[in-house]
Point group: C2
């Protein structure tokens, strides 16, 4: 039996604080504006991927995600495979003693440690892990920056999951996308106190897909240009400064304003796109009340292309922020486990907030299906834990 080549990695989810919305090149996933995100801890949210190849494999590439075969013939996945094989092929040409992995079929197995249905940014972690795992398999000397250029072609925001900590994605100006890559603004260790509470909101139905939505926004929103060309460039600088200075109030204000700006351009799209619902708005109202009660910005909401709220806060304000939500919706799934159990419900805090938040409290009680407690974390990590055994079969 021929040898089975294998390599494994994990990769994180990232949640943007300056949003990616709008493609200037849909094929290459080149964005109309730069963006910036926080990489979240892989203890809570990660994709684990093993890439393998062997001449003994069936001739077509395959991908198994959470036990289900996935279509790999799409242009996005194919672009990643093609780019990675080209890099391997160059290595093989330069060193003929290397095994010809680039011409072998790929078999990839992936698992998420969180429910896909939660509507979290699973494609970012998924493509980052896919690219990183194949790069490991091929023993490519490529940097995370170089790999971010490839992962971006799989899913735009995936490029930011190649790094840990605080990560920017430079929109770039080259037509071939060569300068549209991710960069680390600061490692997680620079500001490790950053935490995130995610409120998973049961959406009545799936909204508009982000790819379709973006295209429609670019084509029809009259406010979009000013966001892409004026608002975001200014906020990218403000946000990087806030991160460098560990200024949570600056970080939080820009985070909230940029989330609102993004959803405003969605609403200005024709026909309008709504990702926020009444429960999302209740989360916004509650964060506003927590900040008002505290007298400064200690919590900052942001929403991707869906109703889930991601609330950033610093560890020192856990009681003022998470304590209030625990007192409010402590019965929901997700509080069990080391960190969630440790948080005490802050009843006085909730009382102070409930006066102003009014109906928002009831909306959250009804509309939140589960919570996730996490924080800033590291980039992809190599692992020996293989999802494919020595015979080339999935381990599960």
């Amino acid at each position: 039996m021929s040898e089975i080549h294998r390599a494994s990695t994990t990769a994180p989810v990232n949640i943007a604080v300056i949003k990616y919305w709008g493609k200037r090149d849909p094929k290459l996933n080149l964005p109309t504006n730069s963006s910036l995100s926080v990489t979240l801890s892989q203890s809570d949210l990660r994709t684990h991927t093993t890439a393998s190849c062997s001449p003994s494999y069936p001739s077509s590439d395959s991908l198994l995600l959470n036990g289900s075969p996935q279509d790999v013939t799409g242009a996005r996945t194919q672009a990643c495979f093609r780019e990675l094989r080209a890099l391997r092929s160059a290595l093989e040409a330069a060193n003929p003693s290397l095994p010809k992995l680039s011409s072998m079929p790929l078999k990839i197995v992936s698992e998420n440690n969180f429910p896909t249905a939660a509507g979290l940014a699973s494609s970012a972690a998924g493509f980052a892990a896919l690219v990183r795992a194949i790069a490991n398999l091929y023993e490519l000397p490529a940097s995370p920056t170089e790999l971010s250029r490839i992962a971006r072609q799989g899913s735009g925001s995936a490029c930011r999951s190649l790094f840990g900590g605080y990560v920017g994605w430079e929109q770039g100006s080259q037509a071939d996308g060569s300068d549209s890559v991710a960069f680390q603004v600061a490692p997680a260790s620079h500001w490790p106190e950053m935490r995130a509470l995610i409120l998973v909101v049961s959406a009545a139905k799936k909204g508009v897909s982000s790819t379709t939505g973006m295209q429609t926004t670019v084509a029809t929103s009259s406010l979009f240009t000013s966001r892409a060309t004026e608002t975001v460039p200014r906020r990218m600088l403000e946000m990087q400064k806030a991160i460098q200075e560990k200024d949570f109030e600056g970080f939080g204000k820009v985070t909230m304003m940029d989330s609102n700006s993004f959803h405003a351009t969605c609403l200005d799209t024709y026909p309008p796109i709504f990702y926020l619902n009444d429960v999302s708005r209740a989360a916004i109202k509650t964060v506003e009340c927590i900040n008002a009660a505290t007298g400064k910005i200690v919590a900052a909401y942001t929403f991707d292309a869906g109703p889930n709220a991601v609330i950033y806060y610093l560890e020192e304000n856990e009681k003022a922020v998470v304590g209030v939500f625990k007192a409010m919706i402590g019965g929901k799934d997700g509080w069990k486990g080391a960190r969630g159990e440790k948080v005490e419900g802050n009843k006085e805090g909730l009382e102070a907030v409930a006066k102003d938040a009014g109906v928002a409290v009831d909306l959250l009680k009804e509309g939140v299906s589960r919570i996730i407690l996490t924080g800033v974390g590291e980039g992809p990590e190599k692992t020996d834990d293989s999802l494919i055994d020595e015979k080339g079969e999935p381990t599960n």
Copy 2:
């Protein structure tokens, strides 16, 4: 007993299709962009106002609205009184035989034929009627344009209620507001087929007041400038052309896009302002489904600073538009009366729509509290029906 001088008028509500949002001068209610509205029929929505004056009245001016005394010492009401008295005073100076009405206390009585609580634009009709009634009382030769300049100082959108039909409000450029006046784009008779279905949505609580909201938007929204300086000027021209050509598809598309643009700048405000709720969004979705089922734009939604939907349509499409809503929420208040009773529930239409509209149908069934059926109508009309009797007392 001294003579009681009296004059009465009615004035209409108007609902903008290009929204007024943002003041460049809050004291004079000078807007940051022009706007355009449809004046609605006074059979359905109107303020009826009698203005009177007499040397025998108590020395301070007074206003009774729907039986409740109102504060008239506010800067807005005072500005209207002052301007109207100045015009009267000039007449009296030129013709000393005229009674000196300008120096007599004013007593004003007003009644709306619709519930104030419905969250309709009652201040527009209210100030238009107040100004028109006093102008009648003073026998001012002022044109509606001139009176619109005065009413604008009471409530910005009131200036548009001085005219019937399709009415623009030119933002103007003079610091004193002398060129910020309303003008008639077309009389109601030009396009009398324009109808409106209003879905009154029970709001959980009163939102941000429009005056406060506007100021915050101007101060904090980064997208607002592009709306005021680029989007609205372009749409003002498109909308006037659509009205001149009686092009409902053009009218409807600009109406919907401008409503979305306005609410997008509200969402882009910091902190964000939300007037639309899940029921409002259900109305948008239903209109989209009705248009999709018909294959063209036959219905156009618009939302002011609240969750109520105003849906414009042409009489010829009553079945396709109102028929569907009647089949859906025919049990709500407001269908009784000549026009509402005449409309047949369009069950087939509802079925076609319900497939796509999904949960929207249930949201509307739960969230709409009443409907109002109306259409384009005339401007203020003099009436002999006085709300103040010969002795200077309210008739009711």
